[in-house]
């Protein structure tokens, strides 16, 4: 199978930006003040957490959310790995002038 990266890029750019996994059920505090900072590499301490902002069930919900998110990420990673491992093929038509 031949894949034109130029066409792929253009197609991806046309797609609307949306969340890969629905986060509407996730506690906003855990999502915005805990998970997102951690994903961006920020170091959080147990003393930074406001435990009154969520309940125990919210932790189960965000854990499920992270599982689903990770599943999607692994799927994307497989696609990326497939592209990286593909052998390049020279363009047959004239590309310049």
């Amino acid at each position: 199978m031949l894949l034109d990266l130029h066409v792929l890029q253009a197609s991806l750019n046309e797609l609307p930006s949306e969340e890969t996994v629905d986060s509407s059920e996730v506690n906003p505090y855990l999502l915005n003040e805990v998970l997102r900072p951690l994903l961006s590499g920020k170091v959080l301490h147990y003393g930074d957490i406001d435990y009154s902002e969520f309940d125990a069930d919210d932790l189960r919900v965000i854990s499920d959310y992270c599982d689903k998110r990770e599943h999607v990420m692994h799927g994307l990673q497989r696609i990326v790995n497939g592209l990286v491992e593909a052998r390049a093929s020279a363009c047959k038509g004239r590309a310049f002038c």
Partner: protein
């Protein structure tokens, strides 16, 4: 890509149970400056387990790799003593005492942990040499330490709740006798009791 440890939420789950029980528990001071990464789940869960009852003892049998937690607390002993008193006052068999059956059901529910490799028991005999206690045995494949604090929190709350109920029931035992008193001077006694 930064990945989040699957244990991170479990660690917060253990600490959250402590917070809901006592927001000023010493565990918050102890781990105030510890980075959240989920690597210290077991250590934090172990500390969290110690935050609910007055006296928590832990034993580990290296031969069969069983961790045993034993919990003692005045609220546990007091409750079963109140059960004894209630039975004595009403001349009930312990099996007929609804406060025993209610508490047994509450503890069974509270100490349910979604893990096949554990066992929980409680001892209500106030005359036993080892005293009234709750025991949790974690076998080799037990993998849900973060759940124990929640179980203990619910067990503690059950003791608080039913202690209030049984105290009220014992107090009520005297009420009909006083209300039924008739004759001179009894009105004063009723007012005093009220």
């Amino acid at each position: 890509m930064i990945e989040i440890s699957e244990y991170l939420w479990e660690t917060l789950y253990a600490i959250k149970a402590v917070y809901d029980h006592d927001p000023n528990a010493q565990i918050f001071q102890l781990y105030k400056d510890t980075a959240i990464d989920g690597d210290d789940l077991f250590e934090i869960a172990e500390n969290a387990i110690n935050q609910f009852f007055a006296d928590t003892r832990e034993y580990f049998n290296e031969d069969n790799e069983v961790a045993t937690y034993v919990f003692f607390d005045p609220i546990i002993t007091q409750y079963w003593k109140l059960c004894d008193e209630y039975e004595k006052r009403l001349q009930l068999d312990p099996k007929e005492n609804r406060f025993r059956s209610d508490m047994n059901r509450a503890l069974e529910s509270a100490l349910y942990i979604p893990d096949y490799s554990y066992n929980a028991a409680w001892y209500s005999d106030t005359k036993h040499k080892n005293g009234c206690r709750i025991v949790i045995l974690c076998y080799l494949e037990f993998n849900t330490y973060h759940w124990i604090p929640t179980a203990l929190s619910e067990a503690y709350d059950a003791f608080v709740h039913y202690t209030q109920q049984i105290k009220a029931a014992i107090a009520e035992l005297d009420q009909p006798k006083i209300a039924g008193l008739k004759g001179p001077g009894c009105q004063d006694q009723r007012k005093k009791a009220a």
